[in-house]
Subunit: 431 residues, 2 copies
């Protein structure tokens, strides 16, 4: 008999079935034991009335791996609407000891460090499983949207000979006796590939030797990067990003209905036109409304971002808002200036509920513009990158979404580590 998943039981009412999974919990009443079997998709309730079997199952540790054959029976009382009667158990694998915390609890009531120290076990909890599936669905939606728009997936080097962008916060490594660094982003490579394939994306790890332990920073995170050529300006990039976000949310909706229900989440919707405000206008509004002196600052503070997020919700009914035109001084050297107001840039941040989620913009595309932007810098190590511009590049731009931040916002996690399988930070290098 072929094994089926717990979520397929309802369709098997009245039939003999075989399930397999982990002994999630057992409730022993006076005359009956309810054993909960957890598999990759959900939890099945098994009703044990035979005394010798009750005793045998009663001796099993939680997380024992078992196979159960029995009769699927629809019931009104059981959460899943179905339970298994007349069961036969086969123990497949026996744990060596009790887990460090009770996985049967609806929420894992343990401190984050304990959870992360025991990640291999913690990830078995249904709520953490749900986050992982929402993450996977989000990435699936990212890719399928871009595939539909004619983008090509690429895989680029994570070991580079010179620090990618700023030079700060890079991990150094010994590369066959030479110094090398872990890439902080695929920025240079995705731009180079616009010269070949016009529209490219990459899903991959990026590395930041972030010297602070905050709730939103990781030493390694998964970056969802896209870059496209033959644009007019940054607004074409923003239009693609809007489609991508809608596609990511649609994929989560389609693929994870049970996970959304378990976590009690209502997904945001992306408006057909995401509201957009220029950086300088945003500052004027904030200063007028709050009295805080922000005009002239080169960047928005977290509280400024929250104000803009509230404004977007109030004025436009949107969880998402673009802030465009950040001052050039705060943007990386490859940023394209606003051709009319040169101190501002053709770049943007996308805020989600008042927090930065995506950064993007138009890039420089003329070789001379790069030489100007890099005046005073030794461009030797950048020669392979600059070659793309030396031999003809179209106007282009792109964006990067931090996957863990995205999932944290979607599921309402306070700390990105809660939705990262095995996070890496200032102090954490295991498991």
């Amino acid at each position: 008999m072929e094994r089926i998943f717990s979520t397929d039981l309802l369709a098997k009412d009245g039939q003999r079935v075989r399930i397999a999974g982990w002994l999630h919990h057992q409730r022993q009443l006076a005359k009956v034991t309810f054993a909960l079997i957890r598999d990759a998709k959900g939890i099945a309730q098994v009703v044990i009335e035979d005394d010798s079997l009750r005793e045998q199952v009663g001796a099993l540790l939680p997380e024992s791996v078992v196979e159960v054959e029995g009769l699927a029976v629809r019931t009104e009382q059981t959460p899943g609407g179905v339970e298994i009667h007349e069961p036969q158990f086969r123990v497949i694998s026996t744990p060596s000891e009790l887990p460090p915390f009770e996985l049967r609890r609806p929420t894992l009531n343990v401190q984050l460090p304990t959870l992360l120290d025991n990640a291999a076990v913690a990830q078995r909890h249904p709520r953490l499983q749900a986050s992982t599936r929402i993450s996977a669905a989000s990435v699936g939606g990212f890719r399928s949207t871009l595939d539909g728009l004619g983008f090509t997936e690429i895989h680029t080097p994570k070991i580079v000979g010179s620090a990618t962008e700023t030079g700060a916060n890079v991990f150094a490594l010994d590369y066959f006796g030479r110094p090398a660094y872990l890439a902080q982003s695929p920025q240079f490579y995705k731009q180079m590939m616009v010269g070949a394939l016009e529209r490219v994306y990459e899903v991959g790890p990026v590395f930041r030797a972030e010297p602070h332990n905050t709730a939103r920073h990781l030493a390694q995170y998964t970056s969802l990067d896209a870059e496209l050529g033959f644009i007019e300006d940054h607004r074409d990039v923003m239009a693609v990003l809007r489609q991508v976000l809608a596609g990511m949310l649609e994929a989560v909706t389609q693929r994870c209905p049970r996970d959304l229900q378990l976590l009690g989440i209502e997904l945001p919707s992306v408006p057909a036109e995401v509201p957009s405000v220029h950086f300088s206008v945003a500052q004027e509004m904030i200063e007028a409304a709050t009295g805080n002196q922000v005009i002239g600052e080169p960047d928005l503070s977290p509280s400024d971002e929250r104000w803009i997020g509230d404004w977007a919700r109030r004025q436009h009914g949107s969880d998402f808002v673009f802030v465009v035109g950040y001052p050039m001084v705060k943007r990386p050297f490859y940023t394209h200036p606003d051709p009319v107001r040169l101190e501002f840039s053709n770049s943007f941040d996308l805020l989600f509920r008042g927090m930065e989620l995506v950064t993007g913009g138009q890039r420089l595309h003329r070789y001379e513009a790069y030489l100007n932007a890099l005046a005073g810098v030794d461009v030797g190590p950048l020669d392979g990158y600059l070659a793309a511009f030396r031999y003809g590049m179209p106007p282009h731009g792109g964006f990067a979404i931090g996957l863990e931040r995205w999932v944290a916002r979607i599921v309402g996690a306070d700390n990105v580590r809660e939705v990262t399988l095995f996070p890496r930070d200032l102090t954490r290098l295991a498991p």
Copy 2:
């Protein structure tokens, strides 16, 4: 007017159109100039008869980025079956100099080091573009097949506190003042996640400090990893792998017909039942046929693999063949032994046309089995991994496909570097 791709021209016969791309080549005849415009999807031929425009375009360097408006006209002679007449040119971006080689040649006739030194330009060549698209389609097929089989995508750490498997050939890095290493595979993590989600896959970079410069080794490559729980033995893994390979080839067939045509490739087909031979039987056949003394060797040599590949083609008409049951001594510590013949393992290699393409097998799943397998080893650094087995794990197994090797075999490249965007090896760290 909206820009269209060169491949959409045929459907626009008789209409005014706008295309954009790179000036791939121009042929100047006595009274007419044929300008070839390359975009992400193909090459369009533009017919210029106006003398002043001929002169203007004649002055453009190859790889100039241009926009062309004109009339789409079906013709018999043009390769694409259509050309653009009465064109107007707009130059979008001008190269600074001539490219280091002629991209217009059907095949880039340059030495590999030159090609790789100038990767940003070389990748513009239609044949290299085709390889990249075939790579992307392959990965797409890998994922969609596994998604369909209930696998969940994961992203795991690439920085680890202890060398992943063998301890040899790892890159060391400074992790906030502590020693750390680049992961050689996601092996431990995908196994741990079987404990949570049962079926997982990851597409990501892996790192090998490979001290030899061979045609098939890279310091970083893209590993397509899958792992699944609740198997009987390695044969369940092989069955999933067969589906995955068929899905990858199907995706390439569907998504890359023009690329396959350009490269002149006929894709292999995966038989419904991939032939399979036990390691010890393979050695007996080889020794009987060739007279070479191979019985007793713990592994197959490349020439042994070629012999088996020929045998599979001759006897079974298959480009693919499984060799199963490699001796335990040559397999990593987590390998599950053959329960009947303990010196052999429940592992396999998949050979494609006589070369190893995939390695996989069943893993140990009992905690005690790991302690036995690691007897004499300090298991402290492995504790987070071993925890998965301490708390109940089902029988499981998996496999890993090296993406670059796969693409090299598919397109017939002699060296994996030819199909890697920006390869990393013993000497190469740029671009």
